[in-house]
Symmetry: C2
Subunit: 476 residues, 2 copies
């Protein structure tokens, strides 16, 4: 069922059609029958499993425990935090019938779990001894969409959401920063996806948060992808839900809360960032299959050598597949694995057997190299590491190149019309300017980088005094 590469448009010519076809042809995902839904096929879900494995380890090492809260939120509960419900109400899926009967109270399919979790937190937290309360869950959430954009915009998606409660704001803020730094590490080390860490503007922050931190990555169309967020919820939900504790002095206090999440949307970013005209290019650490071994003909001697090498790689902990599927030409098989973005292809033919060699082909650069068969496994491990690093370096260079300063609004507009990418510019932090810039250039404030320095400047739009340079970009 793999579609042929020749049906893939060039990435530079029709990006969104290229994207859809790469996702479908490489069997990462498929459309679901209900509007806005998608199917995570094994190859796509395998990437999510690698992401989960890497993140779950970090989350647990921080002392956060996994739990699972209900899918259904009674409508009255969702309405308890005013800004929160306003933010989410246009995109809710609502259950009105259960067990054959009309329900007295409608149930909302969770768009996020703050309200359902905090109702319980209010019962569980009594004393300072119960804090910090550190919980994470891996689950599905639903935010209504009419048109599916695979991975990037779907009614249902998968994510993890961390929700913590603390005795002090200082401790909560440490958690907010920890989460975004942990995500940044995962994005850099696993996705090979560099980005900017920063604070969202008032109009772009999460509904119900005091502060939202974000990781903004650059996609090849010059658009930014908000890749995850970490929220300082202050005491907003604590007040709405009555989450109080007795402190060491016996005084009743509201807790300080955080929430933070990273979703399967990230896989869409991975595809867009690294893919090329040949299809996917997966960074080794997230590739469900890191190495594919191809006997150039389906002959016993070649298959035997392929199986031997496969076993050796498995012992080294490499995720490997031997493709000896009948009825497909060598060219077809090569294209198939190129489309699927497997980092290294190993070819075994008569020549290789004779010379006791293996031929490695890198997906990222297309380079071929011959390696002594007995050194094959070690060379693969080393090469996977090199590829991972190379992909990050490449993406970092692209990010740097596509982040420009705009001293004037004219310059700003020119960049946004032509190259796009990130623009660093002074902004007075007035919502009106932000809205005008968006209206006129489609660019939104992406974030104020965490490491931004206070300067003396003038707002790129209105010319009034501004203290910080914000990052702007068009976004998905």
């Amino acid at each position: 069922m793999i579609q042929e590469k020749k049906h893939l448009p060039k990435r530079s010519e029709d990006f969104s059609e290229w994207y859809n076809r790469v996702v479908l042809f490489s069997e990462l995902a498929d459309y679901g029958p209900a509007k806005g839904t998608m199917i995570f096929r094994p190859y796509g879900y395998g990437i999510w499993e690698e992401i989960q494995k890497a993140m779950d380890k970090e989350i647990k090492a921080r002392g956060v425990q996994n739990a699972y809260f209900p899918l259904f939120i009674p409508e009255s509960l969702l309405k308890k935090e005013k800004e929160h419900v306003e933010g989410f109400s246009p995109e809710l899926a609502v259950v009105t019938i259960g067990g054959g009967e009309e329900l007295k109270e409608k149930l909302i399919v969770r768009p996020t779990s703050e309200t359902i979790m905090y109702e319980a937190y209010a019962r569980w937290v009594q004393s300072w001894r119960d804090l910090p309360l550190l919980i994470n869950q891996w689950n599905n959430v639903v935010r209504w969409e009419k048109r599916t954009y695979l991975f990037l915009r779907t009614s249902e998606f998968l994510w993890q959401e961390g929700h913590t409660a603390h005795a002090t704001h200082e401790e909560a803020w440490e958690m907010v920063e920890w989460a975004i730094q942990m995500y940044a590490k995962i994005y850099r080390d696993y996705f090979a996806m560099p980005g900017y860490i920063g604070r969202k503007s008032e109009s772009e922050k999460f509904a119900g948060a005091d502060t939202t931190l974000t990781y903004e990555a650059l996609m090849p169309e010059g658009k930014a992808l908000q890749s995850c967020t970490s929220h300082d919820l202050g005491q907003n939900f604590a007040r709405a839900f009555g989450i109080k504790f007795l402190d060491k002095e016996g005084k009743s206090q509201y807790v300080f809360q955080t929430s933070w999440g990273l979703s399967t949307r990230s896989i869409g970013g991975l595809v867009m960032l690294h893919g090329d005209d040949g299809g996917l290019r997966l960074p080794p650490r997230l590739a469900p299959i890191q190495v594919v071994i191809i006997p150039v003909k389906v002959e016993p001697a070649l298959i035997k050598e392929a199986k031997r090498f496969e076993k050796e790689l498995i012992e080294e902990g490499v995720r490997v597949k031997c493709d000896d599927r009948e009825g497909e030409s060598l060219g077809f098989r090569i294209n198939k694995w190129e489309l699927k973005g497997v980092p290294i292809r190993v070819e075994i033919g008569g020549e290789e057997i004779k010379k006791k060699e293996l031929t490695f082909v890198r997906r990222d650069t297309g380079e071929k190299q011959k390696v002594k068969a007995k050194e094959g496994a070690k060379s693969i491990v080393k090469l996977l590491d090199q590829i991972q690093k190379k992909m990050l370096t490449e993406a970092e260079a692209a990010l740097k190149k596509n982040t420009q300063n705009a001293a004037s609004y004219e310059e700003f507009k020119t960049i946004m019309e032509k190259e796009k990418g990130f623009i660093r510019a002074f902004w007075c932090e007035d919502k009106a300017c932000e809205a005008k810039i968006k209206e006129e250039t489609k660019a939104t404030t992406r974030c104020l980088p965490l490491d931004a320095k206070k300067e003396k400047g003038k707002c790129v739009y209105c010319g009034k005094t501004a203290s910080y340079q914000w990052l702007f970009a068009q976004a998905y």
Copy 2:
């Protein structure tokens, strides 16, 4: 927030109240705000994570890949297989509003995923080369319940569901048997929960299956728990959804399918089977915390030794917690961990420090033993293994003792009134007899054991010829 043990009724006096309180007090779970829902708290979810880890490994080793299909099933799709929709329609949750609008077609929140998956299978399977198609998913499902019985009966639960398609019935049947044997292994080796593997009767099988295999375990009230199932779907769904392939001869054929699942219900069984008047007793292989180290006083020298031993156990791969929480008496802490069913408690006091010893207390038997501190870690590993085996042996003896033969219906009724448990009895396989027995004794056919031999007998109810002895029991 741990409730005290003294508020726990004796298990033998009020089993269902004992069960509820053990689950709540030990912090395995809590009630959700919507009817029929529950919260899996970290301690309960931790057990599920251990189950997932063990099963996921087995599933992948069999070549089955994980994927994820949508939560929402269009109503028309669910209706495609007649028996299937009839079986599930009384317990559906239905979304009628999405994104603020009344939906044209109602969406069913999946009660199980056959229909949503097979719609895609029909597109993905074209040739014999695409078979077998072996997919599993870990997800939530919803079957409407008005009253929650924590873990055992809830509107939403977590499970895995495997769904495979094959070219021949023989191959499909091998998968059906593999799944139930894999489950049996997990139940024996991890849950320490012995049971009977067998075939369900026509009236008890899955809606849409040709044959259902089940694993039936015995609970302390003398009731059976259907602990998981594996279905031979034959070509029923293949015909309904048009899942066809071209065989090697180029002929179009319907595939043969299987589905199999094990849910968080199993955790309810675990609690019921092993718990006692002191609370939970967790088998080591599923215990989120296998060892708790308790410094008998919160004093630096004791805490230092506790932390040293904790580190040693972590290095051995033991899941360990050091409880040096302030403000709780020794007795309170001991009761707390007893209630939580941690397999081994390690006590460290002045005596232990002086003699360079550690005191181990087993949760399963209450036995105390002194061990040289330097041999502590190795002894723990060995003891955990002993406890795991002992718990299985104990449960096996109880199962054997509570499985009786009934030669006459009088005998059958007496057993079901008094001891309960499993009854082995001839049954003519007529639905009318099955229904009558259920009406008069509350006992249902649990299964025909896979290893049952053909014999000459008479139906325990009607006296007509019967070839096999079935297992009967009351069930949850």
